[in-house]
């Protein structure tokens, strides 16, 4: 089995995995970082979004081997020294989560969205969330949280 090595949340991580291992499996099963979730098997729901070299990626669409040498950031690596990332804080402040299952993917997507879109507006946020499904919130407060965080981060 090939050894795959990458940096996850700033720490080196490597493991012997079967070639078919998906990045999300590597993260959840090899590294035990279970904040990244699996909500579908057709790359539609976005529960699995992480950052690979700074860009939001659905980790169920990528082999672990494809992330060889990459910098991976998961939801667990976001808060620094116990301080929440502004997007995390905004989700809490604006009640952007209920069951919490879609939340890690939503937050990782939102951070990338804010980075790429200075001056976000509601329509853009809603379009950009096309790849993340939430069944609980009706998106109302997720949109609100992302807009608030994007203001905050300007």
């Amino acid at each position: 089995m090939p050894v795959v090595s990458m940096t996850v949340n700033g720490k080196p991580a490597s493991a012997d995995v079967e070639a078919r291992t998906l990045l999300v499996q590597f993260i959840r099963e090899q590294l035990g970082l279970t904040g990244t979730h699996v909500g579908c098997d057709t790359s539609q729901c976005g529960a699995c979004v992480v950052h690979v070299d700074g860009r939001a990626v659905k980790s169920c669409t990528m082999l672990a081997a494809q992330a060889e040498g990459a910098e991976v950031l998961t939801i667990e690596g976001l808060a620094k020294n116990g301080e929440l990332h502004p997007v995390q804080a905004a989700f809490r402040e604006h009640h952007g989560l209920q069951c919490g299952f879609c939340t890690p993917g939503m937050i990782m997507t939102a951070i990338d969205m804010i980075r790429r879109n200075p001056g976000l507006d509601e329509e853009t946020v809603r379009e950009e969330l096309e790849g993340n499904i939430c069944r609980c919130t009706g998106y109302h407060n997720i949109v609100k949280a992302i807009l608030a965080a994007s203001q905050e981060m300007r």
């Binding site: 904040g35 729901c45 809603r126």
Partner: protein, 793 residues
Amino acid sequence: MSDAASGEGIGQPVRRKEDYRFITGNGHYTDDINRPRQTFAYFLRSPHAHARIKSIDTSAAEAAPGVVAVFTGKHVANDGIGGLICGWTVTSKDGTPMKVGPHPILALDTVRYVGDHVAMVVAETLADARAAAELIEVDYEALPATVSLSSCQDGKAPQVHAEAPRNTCFEWELGNKAETEAAFAKADRVVKLDLKNNRLIPNAMEPRAAIGEFDKGTGIYTLHTTSQNPHVARLVLSAFVGVAPEHKLRVIAPDVGGGFGSKIFIYAEETACVWAAAKVGRPIKWTADRSEAFLSDAHGRDHLSHAELALDKDGRFLGLRVKTIANLGAYLSTFSAAVPTYLYGTLLSGQYDLPAIHVEVDGVYTHTAPVDAYRGAGRPEATYLIERIVETAARETGIDPAEIRRRNYVKTFPHQTPVIMNYDAGDYAASLDAALDAIDYKGFPARKAEAARRGMLRGIGFSSYIEACGLAPSAAVGSLGAGVGLWESAEVRVNPTGNIEVLTGSHSHGQGHETTFAQLVASRLGVPLANVEIVHGDTDKVQFGMGTYGSRSGAVGMSAIAKALDKIEAKAKKIAAHLMEAAVEDIVFENGVFTVQGTDKSLAWAELSLAAYTAHGFPSADIEPGLKEGAFYDPTNFTFPAGCHICEVEIDPDTGIVKIAKFVAVDDFGTVINPMIVEGQVHGGIAQGIGQALLEHGVYDADSGQLVTGSYMDYCMPRADDLPSFTLGFTKTECPSNPLGMKGCGEAGAIASPPAVINAVTDALGIREIEMPATPARIWEAAQAATSRAAAE
């Protein structure tokens, strides 16, 4: 209120206690849990909607790499394990009980829907289990399937169960038939409508999962599972399925990623995992992938109805008669028989003073996945029917849709409907007025004209909904066929240091109980929110509970806590009286401090808590040491949340695309503990309702019975860009039937919104009917037909 507790009490939008773990990736959902030496299960499922199993050969699979065991229905039956049950018995109008076919955990000789469970492979890895399942040889004799609701009872359709001739499980009725006929006989006008309530697939974002374990030393089974009601699961698994005695089975529902009804039920996979764990002597883990969830989670809705409304010359409603065929799927699921009967027929009076109602419901079997409660459960189907026919009546009589509703509202309470329910409180005109204001109803004609200038069709639709929540008085549901009582339990444990654990039989899977329940405790005892811990979801910790569904956790679950808090306060006062050498009657408890009336003597909460456990010098006949009280609360009535939702849409006739221009929801939930959380519940419900109206549809191929909408590529989930932001408002009449005045808010959005949307769409198009989901294709066709009609006129 003390400083510490201010801003944290009842009515405050307190930020949620549970959020920190979820936003940092530290939640513990079932699939996040791994047990030492665990194995993995994979279920081989039927590819046929209906087939006889001639033989199953598992030998190659058993010999495959990594395989620990392979189980079929025979193993389960030989072990004396029973089938799954329906916990509610419905009686037909001829007095016979519903006709129930067997529901084995793994199929014995027949499979009855695509996805039905045929065999379970347990292996070292999921990949091994999956690969081995492909080596199982099942010799099927494929049989024709019954899919269509309209023809399943024609006597020619293939039988799903031999026990149920004409695929009819029950023929149920409710209401006053003779009076209804008399009302129609004297009516000035009768409005008729045929309606379909589309089949939905719940799709909580966390798929179902289970880890079954068996401890050889103690004989104790443990099941971690995605459940909305772990105690009910334990009861069913022990008393009916016979997996293990109740005291030897622990069920834990940890963080659960949404339920919407689909995680109430006791399913085959979870049952098989806990049963087989003892067979293989190792933990067995199973997590559904989304495709399995589509196939095997209980679906929702799926009704075919004909409704008639009788009116007098002033547009007053005289009577309603309804005939509904309700799809139950291939097997009865845990509560499925109750959903299209007692949760549906009983709500057909809507918000209206309707003197005569008669409803007939046929519950039928088809070769499709079981159908059971999905957010709203019966009440959305009732609301859709009544609010569609009322809107149609408004159009046919030329009475303004707001006015016809207002004219017919129930205005005095209590109000006994002809269909069991006794409405205890409400002010329906108040929510209508607030909604009319919020949407600027007066400005609608101008907005419609402006849209027309842009070539767009604008429409407005109303929905004045009512639901029955707070399930439910045990005696009442017992008399209607429920196998359980629907009370709730709570235990309040005060620790010696004064902080508090509250054990509740409710279960939170997104509702935020850890926050709202703690708000109640904090404000009652005057302690900081941070000092209150809510414990739920583990049968080893909480003695018993009925779980969370039917918007019952506030009205019933919190009422149980309130009752336990009363007892805590009573005992604490006794202790305080002893310590301060005063009479109990003179003790005042406010903001977490005990004082003796008319003196400066006082005792803080923490001092009293400690004293309760040191128990020094307690008169032992009078006061036991400790401070812990439990309560069971059985509601005296259902609760009746109600309100008015108004939807305004704009349709592009060239593409058939609907844009929701504005959605207003004004709800009366009685007392609101945390408005932020309540609003979130409404948002989510509305999104699901809009999903039903415009996007979602669970479709089976009419001939083959294959599920056509088996993934997110085919089943259209509402996404952020399908929805607007919502405008919410609240009115308030307190519920007189529970100590907190709460009504429940979890389902209102999903119940109210579909008719509001469809009324708006049909208004925009100037048509009478359109089927849900009103997809762009359906709307485009209707728009084209409407345009050519207009041209011809």
